[in-house]
Symmetry: C2
Subunit: 193 residues, 2 copies
């Protein structure tokens, strides 16, 4: 698919095709659509990432509707943490139940996470649970850059990082995943590149 | 399901159960989760709506990362329009292809939109297309409060409204739909109410 094709899409098509660039957040694709035309893959990527970067409301009083004395609807980083919370566990219950998105299924499979032994699955489930309890969002990793041994190693390592740093790391992984998904989509018709 | 049950959910369960309260926007449920505990259905609803109301960025220069001379990533209302763009057409191609969400399928079916004659379908498709071209988002209506005759009448009427008013009306419908979906979910176990 070339960038002219992308720019010619109405929002229904665009959300269909790009709705899962950020896992389970078609709202982001729906907002990015209004920024077309895009000059190339990099430009398209930039708009997806800008939406993510803009989500935190570091000054909740600037939110329309937020008034002194009313509850603040946003923790400083709730929006970005929300994006993380839309991600499934690696080798978790969604993989077992078969409810992963197609993209996620492919990525977890490429990292060998669909063929773990019972011991490895259990070890990963425990680490995932510790991570969620500690940070309030699931462990997110661009699994396509990884393999099964590296996944638990990385999970054990990141479990020990400070929260603010870990939020940044996790959002960086969301962007790596999004980049790869975008590149796949734009390369879907190699004759056009 | 009672509110204690809701408050006891981890974010994975919460996003599974409430992810489609706002059509195809699990990000909103994922962000609302961090505001628990909720006192009742009304309180839960308030948090979903507050996220929607806070989405517009009426002063884009307040967005972190937005600098003088850089492109502004948000039109004043892109975020809220994004929510609308995640909605399917009524009696449109998604209904035909069978790719509606379960909730949307049920609602369109309740309004009789799954059993339109070819003429009515065509008429509605034309009105939907005109509406999308005019406003940049699809026609959204809480179909459960409606029937097939009322849907096209309302569509024809709203097609003539000023844009700013129509954006408000459409978001009001999103909230009606969300209210009904939340009420369904909370009532799912009547023995507990």
């Amino acid at each position: 698919m070339d960038i002219e094709k992308v720019n010619s899409m109405d929002f229904g098509e665009f959300v269909d095709v790009f709705g899962n660039v950020i896992e389970r957040c078609p709202l982001i694709a729906a907002a990015v659509w209004s920024q077309r035309p895009f000059s190339d893959l990099e430009d398209l990527k930039k708009h997806f990432f800008a939406f993510i970067d803009a989500l935190p409301q570091s000054d909740p009083t600037s939110i329309p509707g937020a008034r002194a004395g009313q509850p603040l609807y946003w923790d400083p980083e709730t929006g970005q943490e929300g994006i993380l919370r839309c991600h499934p566990d690696l080798a978790g219950s969604e993989l077992r139940r078969g409810t992963l998105t197609a993209e996620s299924q492919r990525e977890q499979s490429a990292a060998g996470l669909t063929s773990l032994g019972a011991d490895e699955r259990l070890r990963l489930a425990e680490l995932n649970a510790q991570y969620r309890a500690r940070f309030g969002f699931p462990f997110v990793l661009a699994a396509r850059f990884s393999d099964r041994a590296a996944v638990s190693r990385e999970l054990a390592r990141r479990l020990l990082c400070p929260s603010a740093q870990e939020l940044r790391t996790a959002l960086g992984e969301v962007k790596k995943i999004g980049s790869l998904r975008l590149a796949d989509l734009l390369r879907a018709d190699p004759a056009k590149l």
